[in-house]
């Protein structure tokens, strides 16, 4: 079956503009994660969804960042009034269920965001 998909693959925007990043998880996966990876760095956790609810938003760096998930499937990450420090690769991952004993995460290819 299809893996996790993300769109767009690349996004170049001007400082101050809003951007919306999309993630399509694997069908049937109830857990969904957003991460951010800066060049040469590890992954920074942003937010976790279980179904449509987000029990852990603690990684969102500021109130300019928000995310939602509808129908327990597609998720969008919105960054308002983008800043240059928001430039990074944004990765989405899904897993079958946060509470199963084997909760491997399947990652999408990422969206490379460049803020000029």
């Amino acid at each position: 079956g299809a893996g996790v998909s993300q769109s767009p693959s690349n996004k170049v925007t001007e400082k101050g503009k809003d951007v919306e990043l999309r993630c399509d998880p694997i069908s049937g996966h109830t857990a969904l994660y957003w991460y951010r990876q800066s060049l040469g760095q590890g992954l920074e956790f942003l937010i976790y969804f279980q179904g449509n609810s987000a029990p852990d938003k603690s990684g969102l760096p500021s109130d300019r960042f928000s995310a939602e998930r509808t129908g327990g499937s597609v998720s969008t990450l919105t960054i308002q009034r983008t800043q240059q420090e928001d430039s990074a690769v944004y990765l989405c991952a899904s897993s079958l269920d946060r509470f199963t004993s084997y909760n491997e995460q399947f990652f999408g290819p990422g969206t490379r965001l460049t803020v000029l």
Partner: protein
């Protein structure tokens, strides 16, 4: 600071040699996972080891976990050029959070 930190940050070896990477973490965990990232395939899950396990094997991979030292190691035996990638450990804290915390990674280069 990051829950997981890998060392070394970079490792360069000859094809056929073994590669060992280490990960340290700070809090009690349910499990620890290792992932590989390269430009061709993105981030791929390699192996998961639960907190009550001490060693696990998968093909040429061997993972150990020492919960008393809060550390794990990943051994890749008989390395191949295709193993060239960054390797990350990821941990989920036992309580209070749903986060998975990834370390900063070890960049492995296998020379043919």
């Amino acid at each position: 600071s990051q829950q997981g930190e890998e060392d070394p940050q970079a490792l360069s070896i000859q094809e056929g040699e073994n590669a060992t990477m280490n990960c340290s973490y700070k809090t009690s965990i349910n499990n620890l996972q290792w992932y590989r990232q390269n430009s061709g395939r993105g981030l791929v899950h390699l192996i998961l080891i639960r907190s009550n396990e001490r060693e696990k094997h998968s093909g040429r991979l061997r993972v150990t976990l020492d919960t008393s030292k809060k550390s794990s190691s990943l051994l890749i035996t008989a390395s191949r050029a295709a193993d060239t990638a960054s390797y990350f450990c990821a941990t989920d804290a036992r309580s209070g959070t749903y986060k998975y915390i990834f370390g900063t990674g070890t960049r492995l280069k296998v020379l043919a």
